[in-house]
């Protein structure tokens, strides 16, 4: 690098400057521009990841955190979590949670995207404005609002239900029951995710040439067939991309669950990221928490690989 730089700054006569770039000799400026990003990423992402990996092979509790001097224990932590039935039930729940959320998000956002496309100018403007607003609310603020909505004594949901005549909901504790807590968190995450997916899909839909639809409708195709035979096949890379992004987003969602239920009641809403945090911060078993998050990272990497494959395929097409 330094040598290349010296060469570059030397005022050597260049016979044919435009030809130089084409021959592909190393250029310094792009690397300099990207260096801060790479360094920042290395410090904020790669270093913690490596540190986490090391901790997952050590005995690391509160004493080691404060005094240092952690011993390596090989695969003990991984053995401990893999032989724990609770861990496997958490893994299963995490996948079920992701599947339910992602299916709902994909279906709803596709419908919303088609709706925006079909609406007139003003309603479209209104709906898109609403979506952007919902998307713009910080996750923590939205989560707090949901918590208030379903509060047992002062929450507006119980108030409405009682006003409508369902008096058994007077003071009903939504977050005392596992199923209802799970359902509320699903509703909330879907509500937070639909705007991004819907707006992106809508943008993609506008790129499909209108003539194709016109000729299809002349051949007598209804809206369902048109979606199945035209919109979806043309936009398949886009659907794949959104699907991958939503899987990642839902899989690692932590704030929503932690604020609402901390994984409870019981283990009803305990997913991998929450479990890792709980073990590390509540039990102060940083080693076990690190092992669990390493497994989480590995599982997510599999999804990410699919995402990158999609990304490269798409770039090839463009």
């Amino acid at each position: 690098m330094a040598l290349a730089q010296l060469e570059r700054t030397a005022p050597a006569p260049e016979p044919d400057p435009p030809a130089r770039a084409r021959r592909g000799r190393p250029r310094v400026l792009p690397y300099l521009l990207i260096a801060p990003t790479v360094l920042g990423m290395a410090y904020l992402l790669i270093y913690p990841l490596i540190r986490n990996l090391v901790v997952s092979f050590q005995k690391f509790g509160i004493a080691q955190l404060i005094r240092g001097g952690a011993d390596f224990v090989g695969f003990d932590n991984y053995r401990a979590i893999f032989t724990d039935d609770k861990f496997w039930s958490v893994v299963g729940r995490t996948f079920a949670f992701t599947a339910i959320n992602v299916v709902l998000i994909m279906v709803l956002s596709t419908l919303v995207a088609l709706l925006i496309d079909a609406l007139g100018k003003w309603m479209r403007f209104l709906l898109m404005g609403g979506l952007v607003l919902a998307w713009a609310i910080p996750v923590l603020a939205a989560t707090t609002v949901f918590q208030w909505l379903f509060q047992s004594q002062l929450g507006v949901v119980n108030w409405v239900l009682v006003k409508l005549g369902f008096t058994q909901y007077d003071g009903y504790a939504w977050f005392a029951d596992g199923t209802s807590t799970f359902a509320i968190i699903v509703i909330m995450i879907v509500w937070q995710s639909v705007p991004f997916a819907a707006l992106t899909l809508y943008a993609a839909i506008t790129t499909v040439p209108k003539e194709i639809y016109e000729s299809a409708s002349m051949d007598g195709a209804g809206p369902v067939r048109m979606f199945g035979l035209i919109t979806f096949p043309i936009l398949r890379p886009m659907f794949g991309l959104i699907l991958c992004l939503e899987v990642i987003w839902v899989f690692k969602s932590f704030v929503q669950i932690w604020v609402i239920s901390q994984g409870g009641p019981g283990d009803a809403t305990l997913t991998l990221p929450v479990y890792a945090y709980q073990i590390a911060q509540s039990l102060n078993r940083y080693d076990l928490g690190a092992a669990i998050s390493m497994v989480t990272v590995l599982l997510l990497t599999v999804v990410l690989l699919a995402y990158f494959r999609q990304l490269f395929k798409e770039e090839g097409e463009l």
Binding site: I34, T37, G40, A63, S152, L154, P265, R285
Partner: protein, 421 residues
């Protein structure tokens, strides 16, 4: 392509500012010259603004070589914050820690051993509920700061209107009086479903406990017949009001609920009365106190002795100045002042006689005779951080099977208390 290079430039600019932000950090003591500055963490509710001002003014006049920087911390999420501070190189010099959590920090090795200061602070006279938890394996890490236990705060005018002339002394009288008060839009008692310190008292009354030590290992004990009876009484008294079944006394703040004027009783430390009057001055002179009734009239209900200890982190760079501060705050003058202004129990038994005469503190003192502590294990803080007891309470109050819910909670308590062995 154009878009991409723009994005790269934007990200580069962002990461640059982020890195720059990391670079700047406050500079602290300049070891050699001038007065030492010590950072002190006190907890929210531990001192009033008035008291703090009196104390710091006096301290500044007396000790010109030490500068105080007091920060008030929130209870919520304090555990990881203190652990992080103990592990850092820039720790505060004095930290107030709850007496149920101090053992965890003492065991961690990040706290300075203050055993040699015990005589200087007249430690033989310390109250057990604070000195015990501050002591780990024979060494004194935590210096007793203040204690308090819960009493019943009640509305004298509502009691009189309901024809109740003397505060109840037994559980039966208490249930009857509360039922009588629970009419006409008023709540007989405001007891949130997840006040597990109140539940602990009821369980101790029955002869049960939260967890028991079986040889080396701890076991959750909520499913014992005694503990289940305690929970049953909690359910009975909780039903005589509209306390939320799924949250604790902090959400919503129970003193604010009481201040709205529709609540006849609540269970809190006597200092809470001050906050009620602050929120609703119309209730001044209408508030009274009595000890939580026990099973029989001759003995008030068992209560959890809450309170705080002061610790000095090993990482403190000014341990001597830190001790100067502790000696003042834990000394006679300010202990008596604190107990009077905050309605606390002072840290030494001999000082108790100097703070009599107040209705709240005498009700508290009567209850304190039957005061108890949570299981003395460094891991107890882990139980509170995850708190399965609160979940258990909500489960039972919303109609779940008590025995099954108690067993589930016991399993979590057992796991937490034995973790890391």
């Amino acid at each position: 392509m154009k878009f991409r290079s723009l994005a790269v430039a934007a990200v580069a600019a962002l990461s640059l500012t982020a890195l720059a932000a990391c670079g700047s950090s406050g500079d602290k003591n300049d070891a050699s010259s001038g007065p030492k500055t010590i950072d002190v963490w006190l907890m929210k509710g531990s001192v009033s603004d008035d008291f703090l001002k009196r104390f710091t003014d006096d301290f500044a006049a007396k000790h010109t070589d030490v500068k105080l920087n007091v920060q008030i911390q929130e209870w919520n999420g304090i555990g990881p914050k203190i652990i992080g501070a103990l592990a850092s190189k820039d720790a505060p010099d004095v930290i107030e820690v709850g007496n149920t959590q101090v053992a965890q920090y003492s065991a961690s090795g990040g706290v300075r051993d203050l055993t040699d200061k015990k005589a200087d602070l007249q430690g033989d006279d310390w109250i057990e509920g604070l000195a015990g938890p501050g002591n780990y394996e024979g060494k004194q890490f935590g210096i007793p700061y203040y204690a308090a236990n819960r009493v019943v705060v009640y509305r004298k005018d509502l009691f009189a209107a309901a024809g109740i002339t003397t505060p109840p002394k037994t559980r039966e009288e208490w249930l009857a009086a509360t039922a009588k008060l629970n009419t006409g839009g008023n709540q007989g008692i405001y007891l949130p479903g997840q006040n597990f310190y109140v539940l602990s008292g009821f369980i101790w009354d029955e002869g049960g406990d939260l967890a028991v030590k079986d040889g080396e290992n701890w076991k959750g004990a909520l499913s014992s017949p005694e503990a289940l009876k305690g929970m049953d009484f909690y359910k009975q008294i909780q039903a005589l009001g509209k306390g939320p079944k799924d949250s604790d006394e902090a959400k919503p703040t129970q003193t604010d609920v009481f201040a709205q004027g529709k609540v006849a009783q609540m269970i809190a430390v006597p200092g809470a009365a001050e906050l009620i009057v602050q929120a609703n001055p119309a209730l001044k002179d209408k508030l009274g106190f009595f000890p939580i009734p026990g099973k029989t009239a001759d003995k008030p209900g068992a209560v959890f002795t809450g309170g705080s200890d002061l610790i000095v982190p090993e990482a403190s760079d000014a341990p001597d100045a830190a001790y100067t501060f502790i000696k003042e705050l834990a000394g006679e003058k300010w202990q008596v002042d604190l107990a009077k202004s905050m309605k606390y129990v002072p840290n030494r038994k001999a000082l108790a006689s100097q703070v009599t005469g107040d209705e709240g503190t005498s009700a508290m003192a009567a209850g304190a005779a039957n005061g108890k502590a949570t299981p003395n294990s460094p891991n107890w803080a882990a139980v509170e951080a995850k708190n399965p007891i609160k979940e258990y309470q909500t489960k039972v109050l919303t109609g779940g099977d008590p025995a099954a819910a108690a067993q589930a909670a016991d399993a979590i308590i057992t796991e937490a208390l034995n973790s890391g062995k």
